[in-house]
């Protein structure tokens, strides 16, 4: 059987989440592997969420926010950009495959982009196989 990755999506309420809605209402087809959690702003994301997601068995984490400059709160995603960039470096240096964590800016009107990103990310995760490094092993 094909490996179906489990992907955590964290989407900002104002852009990416609405973009995902748009993808749905325009009946775009994209893989169902992403389970999305909505946050008010991408800067609300604590890097511990991402580590925890990997520990609980996520094969990939996809974060979506407004395009820089378009943040509903002004500068939230600029802050998030630095935070998430550091998070990526941490995962990478700890030995996690860097590809498993991805940040994309997707606006409310970019339903198509959302579908494409999910498509591509799911494809990448399939290629990488299950994530076992951080995942908590029950004895």
């Amino acid at each position: 059987m094909d490996f179906e990755p489990r992907i955590l999506g964290i989407a900002c309420n104002w852009c990416t989440y609405t973009g995902a809605d748009l993808a749905g209402t325009t009946r775009l087809k994209y893989p169902q592997n992403v389970r999305t959690v909505r946050v008010m702003c991408s800067s609300r994301i604590n890097p511990s969420f991402i580590i925890r997601a990997f520990q609980l068995g996520a094969d990939g984490v996809l974060v979506g926010g407004c395009h820089p400059g378009d943040c509903h709160y002004g500068t939230g995603n600029l802050y998030a950009r630095r935070k998430l960039a550091v998070t990526k470096k941490i995962l990478e240096f700890a030995g996690m495959e860097a590809k498993r964590f991805r940040v994309e800016w997707i606006s409310a009107s970019e339903g198509k982009k959302y579908a494409e990103v999910v498509e591509e990310f799911t494809h990448d995760m399939k290629a990488l196989g299950p994530q076992t490094k951080f995942k908590i092993k029950k004895d």
């Binding site: 998430l84 700890a94 951080f134």
Partner: protein, 287 residues
Amino acid sequence: MTAMKKIEENLKKEAKRLLEGGEVSVVLAYGRGYDENHPVPFAARKAEDADSLVFNEYCTFNLARYLPKYPPKTKIAVAVKAADSRAVVQLIQEEKVRREDLVILGIPVTGMKDQKTGEVIDNKTTCNMANPVIHDILLGDEVHGFQGGSPYDVLAELEAMSEDARWDFWKKEFEKCIRCFACRKACPMCYCDPCFMDASRPRWADKSPTTDGHLMYHLTRFYHLAGRCIDCGECSRACPVDIPLYLFHKKLAKECEAMFNQAAGMKIEDKPAMVNYGNQDSDEMLK
């Protein structure tokens, strides 16, 4: 007289003067421990305490660690080496201490040694600078032409590893952790009260010492120190089970310097790196 001895003499002299004149109410420096190689951080409060101050190549502690616990407006003189002075600058940036409360006794020095192994730590576990970035009084002669290589040279081996090999390396190191929290307690930048690890809602990591909890603790702590770590290496020296935490901190410091164009604790005017964001940042950093 050796450079170290001269620093010690000056330290005693200045501490006495500052305390006698009432300029400061406490001088944070080093005192004698149970033997020569094991000095202790020492807070001199009276002029006569100044005589028991010492300085030698084993005085590695970063005394900036003690600064935030003093109530504001306490006048403090603090002895700092290069990395320690960066910690002071970073604390000032983060408004944990006020510049006007401090008399900074700069110690220009190289060749400090690890107390456990006796190895010189300059470019190994610390930032490999000789002169403090800030001082009011200099306790020794400025070091000129010190060449120890980049502080990030030690990373070469790990950076060259494959991701899997690196994971194996860190997994093995984190498994040694006993959760004594010496790393966070020794760190001058870990002043949060309570620490995220002490919170019960949400409980970020298992309270009991599990490997998964260690991973969460250390990675999150690395993140909390990204762009703030001034590379003094205290965490690794404090660790009773010798986890080379400094490697991870160095790596993040290196990346942050590259991405944000700013090293931690260099200039008082700087804003801390993580909040110094703007439109100028490039999306390249997320790749």
